[in-house]
Symmetry: D2
Subunit: 143 residues, 4 copies
């Protein structure tokens, strides 16, 4: 969907997200690394409390980052719309996610007036060894 | 699926889950309230850090509790299988989730040898005003 | 969601659906069997062409009936809105679906102004031995 | 996932699929157009009976092709395993699907011993204007 034009760069999205989640600073708010037409990449630094039994990164941590990556993607393309809300999320866990900095790349599949549908892929080992894949739908605030 | 017979009661599942997530105590680990054939109810007490912009309970908190409720349901019916892992989760957010103690009821749709498929409904206002609904698939460890 | 009041009964929904899909008559259009507050039951008579290898009813037949059941549920509660369109569908196949008349029961989880979210359960052997379960989201036409 | 090596080419997969669905010939069985490491492209020729109200290709037609594309992708990479069965499918409908030959491209996200998880994108207007996107999980027969 290369006809999409971002309205914000990575720094702009990071600033918006810090405003939306002021309390999240202490435990490593995910950072937007890059913004491109129809895409963003975010990263959450590895930290304690992210693991589940089996010494892999837990499902809720992966789901939260999938949601955040989609939110960042929406903000990058529609601008200051903090009230966009997730309406659905489907995640497939593909393999145990080894402990390390966690990356997510989100791609816009469809940006309409009412909704945005995003695909998100997550990994720690590398983008060719995905830990999880998600599709996330956001409802956009109506004027 | 009333032909299912739980192997553990609520106290037994709570004990297993405390063993699986020893660090989670400090911020209010969800409690299993009741276990019945094919069903469990869990509750996470309301606490700080559960909100998102708009003063509603955040999506990741709802997703995490949906996953926990399905995990508790699996443990209740297969016993001490801490290594069961989520293979997929789909959640639909139905309305803003007002701040209060968060309940989840999970129902077993299918318990096979390899997988368990669970439906989960979540609310704070009451079970007739759902905040979210999820389906969760767990992969069971193979002997 | 017992506060929902259907606007149409089973005969009314069947009439609307025949109007929406005039060509479907020849191969056994599903019939709405009953309408209740927040619920409908539909049935597709068993017929040739519904099977896949292994002599079970095929996934696409189950998905199509899940979609139809959700559509019937929406029509029953909002009336003559033929242009409601499916926006997403998630289905879990739970066990092989033995060849017989195929039933689906759809329940409204949330009926908003913009969307309806429905849960659908499908079976041939009986409602306590589900063949599949789906969640279906419909976008409602805006005035 | 370029480390995947297909075991069958397009002609090989087409031959297998004709064997699996011998009755489907008459109404335009989808054709596998190409097979590459981790990917296949399939096409279903436009024909009558594919439309829904609004003169767009119906959801069940899109879902059936998503399922077929994932099945073709699995067959291409594991060989003659006709008894692979869909275990779940999530589809997002992104825009009305204009009547024309319908294309689907499926990508393998994870091929394990027990399961395969595939992403599928569908279009008639072009791959940069998707009509739908799906994730499909197949359970593989166990030796």
């Amino acid at each position: 969907m290369s006809d999409l034009k971002p309205k914000l760069d990575a720094a702009g999205v990071n600033a918006l997200m810090r405003r939306a989640f002021p309390e999240s600073g202490q435990d490593g708010l995910p950072q937007v690394m890059s913004v491109a037409p129809g895409r963003v990449r975010v990263m959450r630094p590895y930290g304690p409390g992210m693991l589940r039994p089996g010494e892999v990164i837990s499902g809720p941590v992966l789901m939260a980052l999938a949601d955040t990556a989609a939110y960042a993607l929406v903000l990058a393309h529609v601008g200051d719309q903090l009230m966009a809300v997730t309406s659905s999320l489907t995640v497939n866990f593909l393999r145990g996610c080894k402990p390390a900095d966690l990356y997510a790349e989100a791609e816009m599949l469809r940006l309409g007036r009412r909704n945005a549908v995003c695909e998100v892929r997550l990994w720690t080992e590398g983008p060719e060894r995905l830990a999880a894949q998600a599709t996330v739908t956001y409802a956009l605030p109506q004027p």
